[in-house]
Symmetry: C2
Subunit: 158 residues, 2 copies
């Protein structure tokens, strides 16, 4: 299905929760678990990974919690996905690692794969956390020909 892992999905939800609560100091894992209706253990695991990727900062001890490390408009969807699943690479060929593919040097479409990857990265890099809080501002997103994607305004398409 070419889908994000479920944990990545949760991560987007949690980041949105934290971003919405900005200004109200720290959010605890317990707090976020209640708000997102997800199990605490799972939430902790996700927050931990987001922390290690530098998207969150934490405060330990009683009265501890998590905050965004950057402004919401500086955190792209691409970064959040990469935090949970590692660098975005739709195929083995599009990694910088060599020796994975037995076709290696003669592979006729390696370059193309990288181009496809770059296109997807470009799009995901353009959508930021602040866009997820304010959906209507997404009208700024345009397709490959520079035309605004038709469904943004109406909220739904197909």
């Amino acid at each position: 299905m070419v889908r994000l892992g479920r944990l990545t999905d949760y991560a987007l939800v949690l980041m949105t929760c934290i971003a919405r609560g900005e200004g109200s100091s720290l959010r605890t894992a317990r707090d976020l678990a209640k708000e997102s209706k997800l199990p605490l253990a799972t939430v902790s695991k996700i927050l931990k990974e987001l922390l290690q990727s530098g998207l969150l900062t934490s405060q330990r001890g009683i009265h501890g919690g998590y905050v965004l490390a950057k402004n919401p408009h500086e955190i792209s969807v691409l970064e959040m996905i990469a935090a949970m699943e590692g660098p975005l690479a739709l195929t083995d060929c599009s990694t910088d690692v060599t020796g994975l593919c037995n076709l290696e040097s003669c592979c006729p479409i390696k370059t193309n794969q990288q181009i496809i990857n770059q296109a997807v990265r470009g799009v995901l890099g353009k959508v930021t956390l602040s866009d997820l809080i304010q959906p209507l501002h997404l009208t700024a997103i345009r397709d490959a020909n520079g035309k605004v994607l038709p469904m943004i305004a109406s909220g739904r398409v197909q």
Copy 2:
């Protein structure tokens, strides 16, 4: 890693092979297996799925084989991916199926997820099989702001 299945990767290779050999009548599975250096059984499986999705047409019997069902520029990468992995949906929320998510109606980011999905679909829908054969023409692909993606011409970025 957010990656395509390996079989999907192979499918892109095979479709490229077939597209390149256009005009030279039918390509047999055996033939394509040899050219792509993939096991015949696997190649057959992939071609079968591409057939069922209407991207290929087949001829049975001795002297049978496969041909593209459409012109290369009418077959998008999105279609090929969908043929192998089903409809592109980065998250459960972005499917048309309901009842999968326990947050359902109150989920704060459902709309956004669909927007993200649509953005990715838009990009993948713009790249066609003919683009994969003629990499240099990909300079037509632009980012969300209408600017040409920087790495296309040079073949590589980052």
